[in-house]
């Protein structure tokens, strides 16, 4: 749990620093935010490791296919990364870039989910054929 408190301290310090230098050195402030986000992101991934192990166990218990697991994990990862990146862009004052990043995230997830949606559609087709 030490990492958690350290992360809180880092985030609060960088927020105060960002406020202090943001007026004069905006580029540095954005860089600071990005660095803090990356550090906290790494710590979050460390915390998520046991959760991911649990998910792997559940996957094994449920005999979940690897491709389904990968699609979901990738979608979750892309959603989180694109969201944080777009937030950083908003902080930097680039709203259009933020929107483009969100669009990119949505498109990538849509691209990843095509096989899943196809599988649902083929199931529906099979059902309609039975009916």
């Amino acid at each position: 749990m030490d990492d958690f408190w350290k992360s809180i301290a880092v985030v609060l310090t960088s927020a105060i620093l960002g406020l202090a230098i943001g007026k004069t050195e905006k580029d540095l402030s954005v860089l600071l935010t990005m660095t803090t986000c990356s550090i906290v992101g790494v710590i979050t991934v460390n915390y998520l490791k046991p959760v991911l192990n649990l998910l792997k166990e559940l996957t094994y218990m449920g005999q979940l296919q690897d491709n389904i697991l990968m699609v979901i994990l990738k979608s979750v990862g892309i959603a989180l990364v694109s969201e944080f990146a777009s937030m950083v862009c908003i902080d930097a004052g680039n709203n259009s870039l933020a929107k483009v990043l969100q669009l990119l995230g949505c498109s990538t997830i849509a691209f990843l989910s095509v096989p899943m949606i196809r599988s649902v559609l083929s199931l529906i087709e099979e059902i309609l054929f039975i009916l």
Partner: protein, 346 residues
Amino acid sequence: MIKLICIFLMMCSCVTPVSALEIEAPNVPQSGRHIMPEEIDSFGDGLVELLNNALNTFSPDLVEAFEVAMQIITVSMMLALLQTIPSRVKHMADITGTAVITSMLLRSTKSMISLATQTIQELSNYGKLLCPVMTTALAAQGGISASTSLYIGTSTFNAFIGSLIADVLVPMVYLFLALSAANSAVGEDILKKLGVLIKNAISWSLKTLLIVFTTYMSITGVVSGTTDKATLKATKVVISSAVPVVGGILSDASESILVGAELMKNAAGIYGILATLAVFVDPFLKIGVRYILLKITSTICGLVTTKSITGLIEDFTTAFGLLLAMTGSVCLLLLISTVCFLKGVS
């Protein structure tokens, strides 16, 4: 002499083969044969053996249902990681999750719907074979008008409920699931309302049909049973008073014949009930265990994931519930009719 030989030959030509009335229930269909009791000493023992056999054979289904539940919980937990994100990206990932969960559940539901449809068909076909046997048995016992009216009621309702489920209610279940999946992905309130309407229509039609059938059977049983009882009594009185000297003996003998017919009818009826249950119990357990596990899964998922995905899982649970209701209705219809036949003219 020639005349006597001619008369003898003419009498011989009039001889037709006759035998005692055999009343046997039709053999249990293939799907229920593996759990049907070997010997049926009494209804209670037979039922216990049947349930034991059914419980012994359904562990693979329990494992399969457990696996599906685990898969759904896994995907829901992964999607729970997105709960902090407020933007459209999360919505897109939710749609992917919905597609994955729909695909998993639809696969399981499709096989269960096929199983339920097949069971309903088998029960309906078995009913078509059992009813004439029970009708003959009841008629042999003296319940001529009761057997006719019960047969007409049972066969009509049996055919109607079979067609209704296969042609109308099962497609409605699929429509309900499609609306539910679309609602979970898009979040439109109107889709949810349409789904609820379809669900209510299915349960309402099943309930109404069973109420109408039960009422018909009760009224028919009472009215025609009383008529037959009165006819039997009158016939006995006529025999004992009209035939001189041996009238009383004949009347008593007819009583023992009727008791024999009743015994045969009861044996056939008990076998028929157990055979109906043998066909019904296995699919009921398979669908039932999925229903219960999905209920538990939706409760667990409700703690970690979004309302839309929890709603989707609940809707699939409802679909399993509707399947149970459909299969149960057909089984209940057959059981009620067999019991009405068993009740006979008493």
